[in-house]
């Protein structure tokens, strides 16, 4: 191969190689500004999962519909209630995984009985508080009453 062609192809190949690197970096860059852990949601699609709720209860007409974290690291988190019990704790399989120094692995359970929801401490180290009282046995949770676990505060909302 002639020397000139060799030199040209050599440089062209390196340019191409770096072009690939920059193309890949560009993709990465566009990704930097996109969400990482968060997912975009379609607003106003909550009613669509009414089918998952128990039909006899009319979509929880009378009882609370959602659990909302009002304080602590997870403030703003919301969990829709659909009749299944909610597990709170640091364990990965909890419904609400608490990033709270004062929370135990399996800290508390919030479950439904009839139209009411009950909170129950699962032998946590630092206890669960309903309003200002320590929860010892299953205790009924009126909507809007704060449940405190460490620095995390949870409320049921209708």
């Amino acid at each position: 191969m002639p020397e000139l062609v060799l030199q040209l192809t050599r440089a062209a190949f390196l340019a191409l190689l770096w072009l690939f690197v920059f193309a890949a970096l560009r993709v990465v860059r566009s990704d930097l500004y996109a969400a990482s852990g968060l997912r975009a949601a379609v607003p106003g699609r909550r009613p669509s999962k009414g089918g998952a709720a128990k039909p006899g209860r009319g979509g929880g007409r009378s009882g609370p519909k959602a659990l909302i974290v009002t304080a602590g690291a997870l403030a703003g988190t919301r969990i829709a209630l659909d009749g299944r019990p909610i597990m709170l704790g640091r364990a990965d399989d909890s419904t609400l995984v608490l990033d709270d120094d004062y929370a135990s692995t399996r800290h508390a359970r919030i479950s439904q009985s009839g139209d009411d929801w009950y909170v129950e401490d699962l032998g946590s180290t630092n206890g669960t508080y309903l309003d200002r009282n320590k929860v010892s046995g299953p205790t009924k949770v009126p909507p809007g009453t704060p449940i405190r676990i460490g620095k995390t505060v949870i409320e049921l909302r209708t």
Binding site: F13, V27, D31, G37, L38, R39, R45, A80, D93, V97
Partner: protein
């Protein structure tokens, strides 16, 4: 990315001991106005980059053939197309089984692999020419065998994506994986040398004509094990001990797991005389403990005891002494003992900045130039500029894995992705550091590039696992109307975990955008809308 100040603040105020630092920033800092961009699957970009990789690979092949005065035929084009077809198949599998996976990782691996194949082919040509000149029979072409391994690797890649629908299922097999990994790691040490020793390193299992390096598979299994072990036993590593020099040191009695890992690493070093495998294994352990605990003291302790152990091994093991001597003075005995290292250095020096051009150098002068020393071959023919591009590609794969670790919601996924990213990075460090004389040279294969089946196959499994985790990390919650095909039978550990978490608002959120995230990436029940 996570802004460091914010991340560290979060780690201090709400994290404290016992909380994985990587867990929180992912929720907190990621909220940006362009949340919607994550919804696109970006598979088109992946295909585009793959095609680009195929073009570069074909171009490299054409250059090699032209410089070696081979006939330029249409066959080259077909080879390029075959390469593209192979990766297109992998791409289709990603599209089908992990539609939201990271778009950069697979093309980077494909390009490294393609250039590796070209280089192996180029060294085949040189070997054949040498053999012809001496009147010896022409040796088998390594490139063809490597393509067979590549096919096998991609088949396993697809199988992993297909069978492992949820990376969290792997956590259940943590101890099994750890046991099998340890057996694979230790097996060559107890096998007779005839079966396990090649060029002095006892890291092989050779049955019939096929040899595999079980350590390559062990590294993935052990990463899975450590991820599940650290998730379950993280408290063990975060109990505070003494504070010295601003670092929190663990209590001596909590050092047991690290010491066990150290004993294993030293065993590998002494009985298999392979610093690379040993360093890689211990590096994975250290980096994963660091990711899980955010304590630099673990890294410090680990490095100190590894250094002490390596020093002891250097004192007692002949083979290690030879390697260290070649490292300290690569030109001390260029005719025999340090021939390989010195020739590698000369090769790279010949290449200089721009390289000699593909196919125009003499990389075949270095022994094992297509396996352990492929970096010097690339360095000679593409120069420093080309070699840097290759290292950047490795960097990209690794950082994308770490990025995945930041984004994914569950702790096991975080540790797994971070561990796999570190695995790849450490392996590249060991290989590249070895050939440029930064650390004692060891016989490790450069991921994706070197000739060698075990390494190639294992690294495609690694990529498949990273893609699986990144799919879980990037999958938008609103896409559950199209669940992963066949994913239904992988139930979460408890039905309780099926409830969904939704973020309605949070202080500092842009415009109160309604964002929704399932608890640690849990698949939520089907919703009415499809995103595609």
């Amino acid at each position: 990315m996570v802004r460091p100040a914010q991340a560290s603040r979060a780690g201090r105020t709400t994290g404290g001991p016992g909380v994985n630092p990587a867990e929180m920033p992912a929720d907190r800092t990621a909220l940006r106005p362009v949340v919607a961009a994550a919804v696109s699957t970006r598979r088109g970009i992946e295909l585009l980059l793959l095609a680009f990789a195929a073009v570069i690979t074909t171009g490299a092949l054409v250059l090699v053939e032209a410089n070696q005065n081979q006939e330029l035929t249409l066959t080259l084009l077909y080879l390029g197309l075959a390469y593209l077809a192979l990766f297109a198949a992998a791409h289709v599998a990603v599209r089908r089984f992990a539609p939201y996976a990271d778009p950069v990782i697979l093309p980077c691996a494909a390009l490294l692999n393609g250039l590796g194949l070209v280089m192996i082919h180029r060294i085949d040509l040189a070997k054949a020419a040498n053999a012809l000149a001496r009147g010896n029979p022409v040796p088998d072409a390594d490139a063809l065998r490597q393509i067979a391994w590549l096919t096998l690797g991609l088949v396993l890649f697809v199988v992993v994506l297909w069978r492992v629908r949820d990376h969290r299922t792997l956590a259940r097999y943590g101890y099994t994986a750890g046991f099998v990994g340890l057996v694979l790691l230790g097996l060559p040490a107890v096998l007779p040398s005839a079966l396990s020793e090649v060029n002095g390193a006892k890291i092989w299992i050779r049955v019939g004509g096929v040899g595999i390096q079980p350590g390559e598979f062990a590294k993935i299994l052990l990463t899975v094990f450590f991820a599940s072990f650290l998730v379950a036993k993280r408290d063990l590593f975060t109990t505070a001990g003494k504070h010295v020099l601003g670092m929190t040191f663990p209590r001596p009695r909590d050092l047991a797991p690290l010491l066990i890992a150290w004993v294993v690493a030293m065993g590998v070093l002494v009985f298999e005389s392979d610093l690379g495998t040993s360093l890689m294994f211990f590096g994975i352990v250290l980096s994963m403990i660091y990711v899980a605990t955010e304590r630099s003291s673990w890294v410090l302790i680990g490095l100190v005891i590894f250094g002490a152990g390596a020093f002891a091994a250097w004192t007692f093991v002949d083979r290690v002494q030879v390697r260290v001597a070649a490292w300290l003075d690569p030109l001390s005995d260029p005719a025999s003992a340090t021939y390989q290292v010195s020739q590698g250095l000369f090769g790279m020096a010949t290449g200089g900045m721009l390289g000699t051009g593909l196919g125009a150098g003499r990389p075949d002068l270095v022994p094992l130039s297509s396996t352990d020393f492929i970096f010097t071959s690339m360095g000679e023919e593409t120069g420093l500029i080309g070699l840097m591009a290759l290292l950047l590609l490795y960097c990209l794969i690794s950082t994308r894995a770490l990025r995945t670790a930041l984004a994914v919601r569950d702790t096991f996924g975080k540790l797994l992705a971070a561990g796999l990213g570190f695995t790849l990075a450490i392996q590249v460090f060991v290989v590249a550091g070895g050939v440029i004389g930064l650390i004692p040279n060891t016989g490790q294969a450069a991921p994706f590039m070197s000739y060698g089946g075990s390494s190639l196959v294992a690294n495609y499994v690694l990529v498949a696992l990273v893609l699986r985790v990144s799919d879980a990390a990037r999958r938008p919650a609103s896409d559950k109307s199209r669940p992963e095909p066949g994913a239904a039978p992988t139930p979460p550990r408890t039905p309780l975990a099926e409830a969904h978490t939704e973020m309605v608002s949070r202080s500092g959120a842009a415009g109160g955008a309604e964002v929704d995230t399932p608890p640690h990436g849990q698949p939520t029940p089907p919703r009415g809308r499809s995103r595609e």
